[in-house]
Symmetry: C2
Subunit: 345 residues, 2 copies
């Protein structure tokens, strides 16, 4: 057996699941869940949840941002770190309240550039009414880390958790924006392809204004929610189908993908459904309310929000995601495998 | 002005305080503290605290561990990451409950080595009854990060917070173990000095068994508590003197320092009071109870615990730390300046 960590182990797909299973999950007993009804690492979700009394949960999410390049059309690593953790907290059904950040920077890094990145991070927090309550700052000698890495901790309070093992037969699958924008942008930049920022830009944004009203009104009808980052829509939906032992059927012509994202993806040889998103939510919603959620999202400014498929009882394909082409054929949408793109987020 | 980040900016001393003030603290309004009585970043402490009702506080602490070498006499980066965050939570007066970890590893890193590090991390959590509730795993391409970095989030519950701006005149300063062991060990290794592990070893250890009973019995009499990591005892005490506008007077012959730590420190040209500790607590305790705390610490197995000084009303030296030599002279113990040693923790 090969003893080396590969980029695929960090790509958010099957290899990552396997190595985490081997190294961590198999060795941890989720005391928290057993004892107090929270969410720990045995449910792959956007964060963990700890009951704090009065029917409330504290949601905590941690992520480390390594995106390269650190500035890109639509944002930078600071904005990404803020939005990523805000969105993870929201996807658990929680209102983001506070954040901590650990900044790890290379000796010789420009202080002006660092100030720009931190300003960009703090601006998102301020605009979303989230307190900066602590963190950590370290410098590594030149050559021991490439530029900058930011690790953030998002903290929020939920009254009703949205836990991703709760997808039900009949649920509609909603996406709130077009797919693959962030991944296509970073991938093109990493391949040295020159892009016009008007043409291709990351979707990185906090989903607070969309999700807080939806959580307030529909927290019982939204059965699962995730922001599909590494591994993209394909990873999120495969996780959901797998956990609920259902089959998820998508209609390919309903999935919003910008023509330029499609074009760059084809040029780079990748399906946009595997590309990271940083400002899109995927929801599994009760069919009675799905249309209403979509029209609420439109009213809140998310004009691309749409139903892209539904959850069915698994017969032949338990745990699979199928995708219906425009001419009617069905193909399996596999979970991501291999190294798609390092340092995407 | 030089626009470059230097190692000194990450060393935990004055330069770090200055750059964080400029880049972050000056731009953040601590909403949390103003609105709800918690602890945010305007008090330099081991973590943040959020009131969660019934007089309780949720304490959250984040740190990123970059120690080099990753294995050293007494521990490894996994054990360090676990102990560091456990101790930060304890020093706020909280009982550690749960932890998240973000692992960032270099492509090509040995899976066996990673397993050893994670096992070492999980063992400390298991032994201290702390749940592993989530985290993140990323791989960076070869050469873009040196081996492995671990970012951890410690979560605990406090009934009475120990906040470090609460040092009072008359308080006794207690240390619970000998000073400088971790820093001297790592520094010697980084300088390529061969050490026998019996001779010099890191003090890295969780302080749960010491601090939980002390917190339970003396949380009103312990006015401040910190584990003096980067910047060492000198940094912690300067912070305290500064915040309380008192003067702290230490008796140099009372400070426990192992002869071999003293010898290596002299060889490396550094005062052990500036070296990082990873298994020692510094307490400022009410004089009425200080002796009792020391004898409790002895009973709990911390035989080196001792009173090393006291807090006095500032007259000539507000905010200073003074150290009395064995022959009676007083010198100022300056806060750390410059780059002491990178990747110490």
């Amino acid at each position: 057996m090969n003893d080396k960590i590969t980029l695929a182990h960090g790509a958010g797909g099957r290899e990552m699941e396997e190595i985490l299973q081997k190294l961590i999950f198999s060795k941890v007993e989720n005391r928290l869940k057993k004892i107090r009804g929270g969410v720990g690492i045995d449910i792959p979700d956007d964060g963990a949840a700890i009951p704090i009394g009065e029917g409330k949960y504290l949601v905590v999410s941690q992520d480390t941002y390594t995106v390269k390049p650190i500035f890109f059309p639509g944002g930078d690593i600071g904005k990404l770190a803020a939005c990523g953790s805000i969105n993870d907290v929201l996807m658990m059904g929680a209102r983001p309240m506070a954040m901590l950040d650990g900044i790890l920077v290379e000796e010789g890094f420009s202080i002006n550039t660092l100030q720009k990145i931190i300003d960009s991070y703090l601006t998102i927090l301020r605009e979303n009414n989230i307190a900066t309550i602590g963190g950590d700052f370290k410098v590594m000698p030149k050559g021991e880390i490439d530029q900058i890495v930011i690790s953030t901790v998002g903290i929020g309070i939920a009254e009703k958790l949205i836990i991703d093992n709760n997808v039900k037969e009949g649920d509609k699958i909603i996406v709130t924006g077009s797919i693959g924008d962030h991944g296509a942008t970073i991938m093109a930049l990493q391949h040295g392809i020159e892009i016009e920022s008007e043409e291709l830009r990351s979707d990185v944004q906090p989903l607070t204004k969309l999700m807080l009203p939806l959580i307030e009104r529909y927290s019982n009808q939204i059965h699962a929610a995730r922001d599909p980052t590494r591994g993209g829509l394909a990873m999120t939906l495969n996780d959901w189908a797998n956990m609920s032992e259902t089959v998820i059927i998508l209609e390919s012509d309903k999935i919003p993908i910008k023509p330029q994202v499609q074009a760059y993806s084809e040029m780079l040889g990748i399906d946009p459904l595997y590309l990271a998103n940083e400002g899109v939510a995927v929801l599994a919603a009760d069919p009675s309310i799905a249309e209403e959620i979509v029209s609420q999202a439109h009213k809140l400014g998310y004009s691309e929000a749409t139903i892209i498929g539904e959850v069915k009882k698994s017969e032949k394909y338990p745990g699979f995601v199928l995708i219906k082409s425009e001419v009617g054929g069905l193909r399996i949408l596999e979970p991501p495998m291999g190294e798609i793109i390092p340092r995407i987020c």
